[in-house]
Subunit: 128 residues, 2 copies
DNA sequence: GAACAATACATGCACTCGCATCTAATGCAA
DNA sequence: TTGCATTAGATGCGAGTGCATGTATTGTTC
């Protein structure tokens, strides 16, 4: 991959990221009252199917620890997750998804998939 | 491209975007006093090699019109561009790069390229 | 030409983000 | 145990963004 390909790839990433983020923000927000970050956190917890430490989530979503802490705060206020003290390490916090959170996530997944399909279906795929 | 490929591509885009943006912000900021948006605007003007309307820039960078207006404001304050009234359409504004702006851009290009090369050189390329 | 819609750009505002910092708990060494 | 560095997570703060709106200019219709 030479320098021009790198720049071309970067422009592809920029364009797709902007388009998808904008659409996700609009659709997830309007239909399900979720931002992209909120959805991503719910999605990670559902995917693992267990409570996760804040730190574990930090490794999976592309957010700073402080931003993640606030996302969890917003989700908690909306009763979609609950914070649970970690008995082993009382500094830690488990993020547990609630039934409401599961329901909201399940409801939002099709929207999420549809938005991405719209944007990526005809796009060049990744090589290898 | 089926649904799983779409999600995989999306995660690739998210990861590369986060990594590159973060690195660009750090390196361009520390070495040249530019943010990614500022660099992008200078880069577009240099690429076209002429003054551009705000609206033309809007089509090329992934920013809202309001955000772009402020980026131009910051660049103007740093004397890297100047705003010029458009005689044909007095609503319009031309953004002209200054000599200082050209110099700063030229100085920043290698950093920009190096950061992207570091992140994308070993990455899967775009298919066709 | 006058009235009104449309367009170009600027700005108030609310929101999210990252950085720096704070608090609390843990680990480790003397 | 005491003292201090380290780690987990929360929070104050400033910066950048998009949306809605404001101001000025242009186009259009009568």
């Amino acid at each position: 991959m030479d320098a021009d390909d790198v720049v071309e790839t970067w422009h592809y990433v920029l364009a797709k990221h902007a388009k998808a983020m904008c659409a996700l923000e609009r659709e997830l927000g309007a239909r399900h009252g979720l931002g992209p970050s909120e959805f991503e956190v719910l999605d990670r917890i559902v995917h693992h199917d267990r409570k996760l430490r804040i730190q574990e989530l930090c490794d999976e979503v592309h957010l700073s620890q402080s931003a993640l802490s606030r996302v969890v705060g917003r989700l908690e206020k909306a009763a979609l997750v609950s914070r649970d003290v970690c008995r082993d390490d009382r500094r830690g916090v488990y993020v547990c998804i609630t039934d409401q959170g599961r329901a909201r996530h399940a409801e939002a997944v099709p929207t999420h998939r549809a938005v991405l399909a719209e944007i990526f279906s005809e796009a060049p795929a990744l090589r290898s």
